[in-house]
């Protein structure tokens, strides 16, 4: 067996939520990054995979467990570990060359030697001629090339990529990915191992030797999948398609309540928590996807990768919508397929009014948070209350930004189903107009 470069043993991480309660983000993660492999880390947003990457980069300290790099405990960024950022993180006031030289300058490499090495890295990544440009003069794809050259010029042992292609358009992202794989397979990189954090399933399958699938709340490795296809891989080949299907199935397993700890015994019995992380799905997209699903060629059942293609959405955007539909009982997720339920069928065929009523009814029965807000509003004589208590409830389990996001999703759904309304200016939740009177009586 090849040597481990980074080892994680029982790593855990907690953040403090607003009321001071510690909230676990990662729990008990064991992981070895070995020489000569590319590992992809897949999971929903908020599942803690970025935190795990930052722990390996030495940017965030772990609360529990051990992190070792080449056998040494890691308590800060190490010279052998380099990183490529989602938002490029280039210094806008430094030229391409100065940006690339940054890591060398920090190490005290002499100017002439720096220039030579930077030139090599810039040429390697295909940016020759742009040495003197400022980052703002470059397109997104070229900026990320600078980010990669900057990471490679220090000859890192390990390259960490944090959603490095997700800020780029699909075509540019694919092209850059292929270029990196070419460098890797051609042995032009000094790097011994790569860790790629992604929420794009195809990307993970195309790149990695191992795919780790992350579960959330708290984040941990749910399962792993070894990919033994030779690179370059053809996204259209049957092997790759089968793998993608398999990953979809794994990722949507137990998706009716995707955010809860699947597999724990009491999860099936206990009622859904009030402060669950609702999938951030847009109502118009939910409608659109249902219609797409009901129509031919799918006729009510679709393979998720195909649905992605047909809808023109990347999987990272389609999955929350699918999860939301499953949560509301309008569709079912089943081994990588999305199937319309009979209720979903009625919804698609119904008029505007019927859709609204069905949606509202499903919200109240399946989303405890929305039911609870509606119940509380009905008790108010004015049919109105501030959003503060709801946020307080949510922040018992989520951090502030997440709590805000969940409330926003709940409000947008509730508006669509006319369960309650929200006034942005006053920050007040209230019953829909025309219903206040019935509430007070």
């Amino acid at each position: 067996m090849t040597a481990s470069i980074i080892e994680l043993h029982g790593v855990g991480k907690r953040f403090r939520s607003a009321d001071g309660h510690p909230r676990p983000v990662l729990a008990d993660v064991d992981f070895h990054l070995r020489e000569g492999e590319i590992v992809a880390l897949l999971g929903q947003s908020g599942s803690g995979k970025s935190t795990l990457l930052r722990i390996m980069a030495g940017l965030v300290p772990a609360d529990a467990g051990q992190v070792r790099y080449r056998g040494q405990p890691l308590s800060g960024p190490a010279r052998g570990i380099s990183m490529v950022f989602q938002s490029f993180a280039l210094f806008p006031w430094l030229t391409v060359q100065q940006n690339v030289e940054l890591g060398l300058e920090a190490r005290g490499v002499a100017k002439a030697e720096r220039a030579v090495k930077a030139e090599e890295a810039i040429a390697l990544i295909g940016l020759s001629g742009f040495e003197g440009a400022l980052p703002r003069e470059l397109s997104g794809g070229m900026r990320q090339r600078v980010g990669i050259a900057r990471a490679l010029v220090t000859e890192p042992d390990v390259l960490l990529m944090d959603e490095a292609f997700s800020a780029l358009d699909v075509l540019t992202g694919e092209r850059l990915r292929e270029d990196i794989l070419e460098l890797w397979d051609g042995g032009h990189m000094p790097t011994q191992a790569m860790l790629v954090v992604s929420h794009n399933i195809e990307e993970a399958v195309m790149m990695a030797d191992r795919v780790l699938i992350f579960a959330s709340d708290p984040g941990r490795i749910r399962c792993q999948l070894s990919v033994q296809l030779p690179r370059p891989r053809d996204p259209e080949s049957a092997d790759v398609r089968a793998l993608i299907d398999e990953v979809y199935a794994l990722m949507t397993a137990g998706a009716a309540r995707p955010t809860r700890a699947a597999g724990t015994v009491d999860a099936a019995v206990a009622p859904a928590p009030l402060a669950e992380r609702l999938p951030a799905a847009d109502v118009a997209r939910m409608d659109g996807l249902l219609e797409l699903l009901a129509d031919p060629p799918f006729d009510g059942r679709a393979d998720l990768p195909q649905l992605c293609e047909e809808a023109g959405l990347p999987d990272a955007e389609l999955l929350p919508v699918a999860h939301a539909l499953a949560l509301l009982g309008l569709a079912q997720l089943d081994s990588g397929d999305l199937q319309l339920t009979s209720l979903g069928r009625r919804y698609v065929e119904g008029s505007h009014g019927l859709r609204r009523d069905l949606f509202g009814q499903q919200l109240v029965t399946h989303v405890p948070l929305i039911a609870h807000i509606r119940h509380s509003l009905e008790q108010e004589p004015s049919g109105e209350m501030p959003d503060k208590p709801v946020l307080r409830l949510l922040s018992e389990h989520l951090d502030d930004t997440e709590a805000g996001a969940v409330l926003q999703t709940a409000v947008s759904w509730a508006r669509h189903g006319e369960v309650f309304e929200y006034d942005y200016n006053t920050g007040a939740l209230r019953l829909p107009t025309g219903e206040e009177e019935t509430a007070t009586r």
């Binding site: 030495g58 080449r70 960024p77 990183m83 210094f91 920090a106 703002r136």
Partner: protein, 575 residues
């Protein structure tokens, strides 16, 4: 092999070009002037010596030079102060707890208050030399410049974008490298903007800080400010006119030779990717960039800096035993908090005793009442100025042909020390026998209203074209158009302008509520005139009381009104 390298370098490379020849006399002349002015600043001087001053306009260029030297010295000091303050406050938590509230308070202390309190100390520091008085004046100007610069730098250091922070850490930048490569560049646009604002403030107070009275002696340092003070004593309107011209020249020179090149140069530090396409331009910067001499000087400086970056590097990484996190000792933090709390209690006790023993509670109540009067003035004036300048600003901002030019004019007017025009107003009030309580008030906002104007112009010219089309398409007109479209669109920039205008007005109240022209002194009832009057009398306990009360009012207004409006603007009406 190239043969040329056997010759002495300066001969062969001919490292000069025609731009050098133009720059040479300028540089030499500037050096001579600086040396001469600096030598004059350190002349022997004893309290009571008369300083030669003349109202002859031919002396004005020399006075302008002296004033400019003071401004420059104060600006350099303010920059150093800002750097030290910001780094300490941003990096050391224990220091942050003290420094930030302290700066908040210092910011709201009226600038003239510093002068009357510190001047004796400075004179004692350099006995028998003019430098002591010069230092007092420079310190007063410094206090008008330093606080907002320090605050801006501190804010920038605290808000470095997280991804750049992470990149700097992943690539192992040391503290020194981080400051020069990340923190200072990121802070540069904000710092520069605040430097320009500070300079405007400095011009306003230079007039007051050069004519100092200590123990019934009035010292007038050679400078434009003293020239104006003398002209006022002598009731010489012509001399005032000359002083205005000199001031204009000074402001234009600073703008063209210092700030415009700096702004054009700092454009590369903009953090947003997109933004305005019209990059600022400066003939001075172009000229300097074309000159071989300055290019070499700049390259030399950059080399030294980069050398220092390599020198102060981090020698260990995250796998070293030295990188292990130190466990913070909670007991130390608690002890520090206890020390701070004790200091606050002692200060509070001293304050109560001071008021009780030195001035009496009825006086304190009276000063609070005066504070309310000045507060009313500030609020009414800002409302009035808004009524006038918001529609004008919107109109100008929507006409792209005018907005660029007029915005620059408004910015320029804001830099112009409005107190130069006070004598004219006094003459008018005396001639028409007007009530000074009412008619002195507009002076408070005279200099600061321009901040309102140019912020509103900027806001209106940034209204997206689509929004304008939509408004026209919907046929919005009349009051509805203002209420639903124009006013909300400029609200955020209006609030920014109003905050600056309000702060400036409080400061200006000390000069504006108590105005002299020869031996006529007009006085409006208010906190500003109280402080000015006590300063003239040299009554320290009452000066301190007045300043303390003003401080409380300014902080209260900032906290309860402006900060809330600002947050509202950021939340709701962001375009």
């Amino acid at each position: 092999m190239d043969r040329r390298q056997f010759f002495p370098r300066p001969v062969v490379e001919a490292g000069t070009n025609r731009w050098d020849w133009a720059l040479l006399p300028l540089v030499l002349g500037l050096l001579v002037l600086l040396a001469y002015g600096a030598a004059q600043m350190t002349r022997p001087f004893a309290l009571g010596d008369p300083l030669p001053l003349s109202l002859d306009p031919s002396h004005l260029p020399y006075y302008l030079l002296r004033t400019n030297l003071r401004m420059l010295a104060a600006m350099v000091l303010a920059l150093l102060f800002s750097a030290v303050f910001a780094v300490l406050a941003a990096k050391v938590r224990a220091a942050e707890k003290v420094l930030v509230p302290m700066l908040d308070i210092l910011q709201s202390i009226p600038i003239l208050g510093f002068l009357s309190i510190t001047v004796t100390g400075f004179i004692a520091l350099f006995p028998g030399n003019l430098l002591g008085v010069e230092c007092a004046a420079i310190f007063a100007i410094f206090t008008s410049q330093a606080w907002n610069m320090a605050f801006s730098l501190y804010q920038s250091l605290r808000t470095v974008p997280s991804e750049l922070d992470e990149a700097a850490r992943v690539f192992q930048l040391s503290g020194w490298q981080r400051f020069w490569r990340l923190e200072l560049p990121y802070a540069m646009p904000g710092l520069l903007w605040n430097m320009m604002m500070s300079m405007s403030g400095g011009w306003f107070f230079v007039v007051a800080s050069e004519a100092i009275s200590v123990s019934d002696q009035s010292i007038k340092l050679p400078g434009v400010g003293s020239y104006i003070a003398m002209a006022i004593e002598a009731r010489d309107l012509g001399a005032i006119g000359w002083a205005i011209v000199a001031m204009l020249v000074g402001i234009v020179l600073y703008d063209q030779l210092v700030f415009r090149p700096l702004v054009a140069w700092a454009d590369k530090f903009r953090f947003e990717d997109s933004g305005s396409d019209n990059a600022p331009n400066s003939w001075m910067l172009n000229w300097l960039r074309r000159t071989a001499f300055t290019r070499r000087a700049a390259a030399w400086l950059v080399d030294r800096l980069e050398g220092s970056l390599i020198w102060f590097r981090r020698h260990h990484d995250g796998t070293s035993i030295r990188a292990r996190p130190r466990i913070a000792v909670a007991a130390w933090q608690r002890a520090w908090d206890a020390v701070l709390a004790a200091a606050v209690m002692v200060a509070l006790y001293q304050l109560v005793r001071f008021v009780h023993a030195e001035v009496g509670w009825s006086e304190a109540g009276h000063v609070l009442g005066l504070g309310l009067v000045t507060l009313a003035r500030v609020l009414v004036l800002i409302a009035l100025a808004a009524l006038v300048w918001v529609p004008v600003g919107i109109w100008i901002g929507m006409n792209p042909r005018w907005s660029g030019r007029l915005q620059a004019v408004a910015q320029f007017l804001a830099a112009f020390p409005a107190n130069l025009l006070f004598p004219v107003v006094v003459v008018l009030i005396v001639r028409w026998k007007l009530d000074p309580d009412v008619w002195l008030s507009p002076l408070m906002i005279f200099g600061t209203q321009w901040y309102l104007l140019f912020n509103v112009i900027a806001g209106a010219s940034n209204i997206p074209a689509e929004l304008r089309h939509a408004a026209r398409n919907l046929g919005l007109s009349g009051w509805l158009k203002w209420r639903r479209y124009l006013l909300p669109a400029v609200f955020p920039s209006f609030v920014t302008g109003a905050i600056t205008a309000s702060g400036g007005s409080w400061n200006a109240s000390i000069v504006a509520e108590y105005v002299s022209w020869g031996d006529t002194t007009l006085k409006a009832h208010g906190l500003g005139s109280y402080i000015a009057e006590m300063t003239a009398k040299g009554d320290f306990p009452r000066i301190a009381l007045g300043i303390g009360v003003m401080c409380v009012f300014v902080m209260g207004l900032n906290h309860f009104v402006w900060r809330r409006l600002y947050r509202l603007a950021e939340d709701r009406m962001h375009l």
